[in-house]
Amino acid sequence: MTTLFITLVTALLFDRLLGEPRRAHPLIAFGRLVQWLEARLYAGNAFVWGQRLRGGLAVVLLLAPLTILVWFISQGHEIALLVNVLILYLAIGARSLVEHACQVRDALLEKNMPLARTRTGYLVSRDTAKMNTQDMARATIESTLENGCDALFAPLFWFLIAGAPGVLFYRLANTLDAMWGYKTSRYRDFGWAAARLDDVLNFIPARLTAFSYACTGKFVSAIHCWSTQAGECASPNAGPVMAAGAGALSLQLGGPAVYHGQAQDRPQLGTGSLPEADDIDQAVNLLRRSLGLWLALLTLVWGGLQFA
């Protein structure tokens, strides 16, 4: 437990001090590998389950060898600690998440709409061309809340449960979902396995994230929004996170947005006022407080075990 605790705190410190590696992030190399394998396993004319099977095989081929390799390395003694820290550090992207959100906020406060649009475009896949200040603040807050799970709490959770192999497995599965998990004609079946795996892996972390947002924000309103609004969301895991986050912040999130030129009707989430640029800070602070809560609880457990 002590090693686990030290590794976790060191990796978080690395992230805080260094941010994401600007050059040569290993996930880019993994992305190339994914494309390479996709070109070989994707069948243009396969039946639904044939295509799903191919997608599933791709997931196994991509995840299993790397996870087993990391499991072997993390069993060793000398370099294991270093490797564990490195993998967890690479799996979390808290600082870059906060930086991106704050950059949108700065552009909005400067009232530089073209710049704010460009920066919002880095965070969300929806069309930014016709967004106003509130739309951009809303998109940024949604992205912050959702990525708080994907890029911070879920990796921490899987690291605590299964160490470096666990967090690696989660991060790679999450990347596969980002590349294949779309309901387009190309990926509906091929990406099916990746999307389901991501749903399963995020099930508990998403709810822990949602609960953390509730505990460190407006608790009653967060729980109310979670229980009444989360079910209307298309995604089983983004629903609780966004609904609880919106409730914790007392902001109205969700609602219609334009993706790839097509308007999509999304459920309304949260309560209270529409978000403004300043509210991006509130979302970032909620994320920080939630991380504080996790660290405090971990310290308590670790301290308790020392005495026991």
Partner: protein
């Protein structure tokens, strides 16, 4: 005032063809400009602030700490010689014989005597120069200098208190060849522009890179608010849009090659070029220029040497129109009217 490309109204009157019929290939500006959208009223109503995001974004994009935004690189080109005028009788300034003409014009107007050199003569003449000014990639020839060579020249010049000035207006499609990261050194000046690659020539935004003390003197000469608030906003957003940039670099490389092939295949072999323009040396430059102009296609004509510069067509329809016009060219046509006016320098 020197003549430049882009004088479409003039051509429209001269050839009696309505303005909206023209395809303007005379400039080397990207016709697929970065998409500017709404500018808030406050940007027009307030004085621009130096503390906005522009500098930080520019530092990141250009990989250089010391940068000064100016109203297009032209503003810098014009004022640069004034930083040296107290030594105008002793400083020996070398530049390319055939390059963007505003440089020579600015230094000559400030009273400097120039040593005009071909690209391959610079090496031999370098020890006789105090200031060397090159355009890289060169406009209109497309000649690109090796970074190592320019760095070596800078070392030789700065060792005796001289300067290297590099105009990198067409560098954005090949950022790895830019020398902006070296401009913290004494006697190293680089100019950049948002007009070409980003296609934002109307915004009038450029940057000067040099050591801080030198930039301070330039800032003094330019005075406060050298560029407008809306232009600062657009520049910041365009420089930050890395997705658009990466996509555009690929597109422009393809289009530049396509243009080179199209010209070469139709009897106009290119002598050089960049992703944004191609340069054709031909004895029939004047005639070709006129024949294309009669088809409402405006190119940039140079008389010394006789040559033409072609920018990129804006869309597939224009590509086809250019191809048809090139196929129909008559190389026995002598050309008629006086060209001094169109040609400039």
């Amino acid at each position: 005032m020197l003549e430049h490309g882009g004088k479409l109204r003039h051509a429209a009157q001269r050839y009696g063809i309505a303005l909206d019929q023209w395809m303007d290939l005379s400039t080397g500006l990207n016709p697929q400009a970065w998409p500017v959208c709404d500018i808030p009223t406050s940007a027009w109503a307030r004085l621009p602030e130096d503390e906005d995001s522009l500098i930080e974004i520019a530092q990141h994009y250009y990989g250089a700490a010391n940068c000064l935004p100016v109203a297009g690189s032209q503003a810098a080109i014009q004022i640069l010689p004034r930083l040296y005028t107290q030594h105008k009788n002793t400083l020996r300034v070398g530049m390319l014989t055939l390059a963007y003409a505003e440089h020579a014009h600015a230094w000559q107007s400030a009273g400097f005597k120039l040593i005009l050199l071909a690209a391959d003569e610079i090496e031999t003449w370098l020890n006789q120069l105090d200031i060397l000014l090159v355009v890289n990639p060169n406009n209109p020839t497309g000649h690109t200098f090796e970074s190592a060579q320019l760095l070596n020249w800078h070392q030789q010049l700065s060792a005796r208190g001289g300067s290297l000035i590099v105009d990198e207006a067409f560098m954005d499609p090949t950022p790895e060849k830019s020398l902006t990261p070296y401009t913290a050194q004494k006697g190293f000046v680089v100019l950049r522009s948002l007009g070409k690659f980003f296609g934002l020539a109307g915004a009038r935004v450029g940057f000067v890179f040099a050591e801080p003390g030198w930039l301070d003197r330039l800032t003094e000469l330019l005075g406060p608010w050298p560029i407008s608030g809306p232009s600062r906003m657009i520049a910041a957003a365009a420089l930050e849009d890395r997705i658009w940039q990466a996509d555009m670099r690929k597109k422009l490389q393809r289009q530049g090659q396509r243009l080179a092939h199209l010209l070469t295949d139709n009897g106009l072999p290119v002598s050089g070029g960049t992703a944004l323009f191609q340069w054709v040396e031909t004895a029939q430059a004047e005639s070709v220029h006129q024949q294309l102009a009669r088809q409402a296609i405006l190119t940039r004509l140079f008389t010394q040497p006789r040559s033409l510069r072609f920018g990129l067509p804006a869309d597939e329809q224009q590509w086809h129109r250019l191809e048809r016009a090139l196929i129909e060219l008559d190389y026995t046509d002598e050309g008629s009217d006086s060209l001094c006016e169109v040609a400039g320098r």
